[in-house]
């Protein structure tokens, strides 16, 4: 399974041409969002909706609904009990030098032998082996 980081989700809705090439070659059922990304996105939209001024509230809540509908189109790979030990090990190794969300995504990938697709490879370089990292934005697929 290819796990999309948040930045790949962004490029998907922005219509990045290189990403399109990859997605056309891969079955949609082999692409998923880690539950960490879903949580991040929903939290961001929810906070905006809850803190919006009266004038901004209607579009903020509409965006929350649009975001929820969009996420509904994706498979989601959950952070389940199999991810706990990998995450604890990553925390031991990296202490506070890495983003906790990055480590959670990496733990999901380790537990399920998934590949993380991200534009921020440097954030994951010390968390995952190269074979479990991909950049579908800056590195065009081999023809």
């Amino acid at each position: 399974m290819f796990l999309w980081d948040t930045n790949i989700l962004r490029h998907f809705i922005e219509g990045h041409p290189t990403l399109r090439t990859y997605v056309k070659r891969i079955a949609w059922e082999d692409i998923a969002l880690p539950s960490v990304v879903v949580a991040e996105v929903l939290r961001g939209r929810s906070e905006y909706a809850l803190k919006a001024s009266p004038i901004q509230a209607p579009p903020a809540h509409a965006l929350l609904q649009e975001t929820r509908d969009m996420l509904h189109c994706f498979h989601i790979v959950m952070f389940d009990t199999s991810c706990v030990i990998p995450l604890q090990q990553l925390r031991e190794q990296h202490k506070h030098h890495k983003s906790y969300a990055d480590m959670m995504i990496a733990a999901i990938a380790i537990a399920g032998k998934h590949t993380v697709v991200t534009r921020n490879r440097k954030h994951f370089a010390s968390l995952l082996p190269k074979t479990q990292l991909a950049n579908w934005i800056d590195l065009p697929p081999a023809s």
Binding site: W28, P59, M70, C73
Partner: protein, 102 residues
Amino acid sequence: MKYTVVITQEQSGDVSAAAPGLPECHVQANSRQEAIQKISQSITDIIRRSEVIQLDIPDAVRSQKKHQETPWNLFGSHPQDPAWGGFFDELEHHRQVEQFEE
């Protein structure tokens, strides 16, 4: 059992009555009283001919079908949209500054 009925005074002078949720139940009459009688009879007829059952459709069937095809309608749906671009910038920033709290 009580049924909600919508009674409408038409421009033509007729009175129509309909029972929302029962598509066949729509009548026209010359007066409000007649409309109520007719719609009452119509609802009674429908109820006599109908039964209500519940079917259990597994969610898994729906979700499997939903995830089979790439949602190309989403691809490029928000190019250069500040409502999304700025939002993703914030998420990225938030992730890098957020640490696990013991």
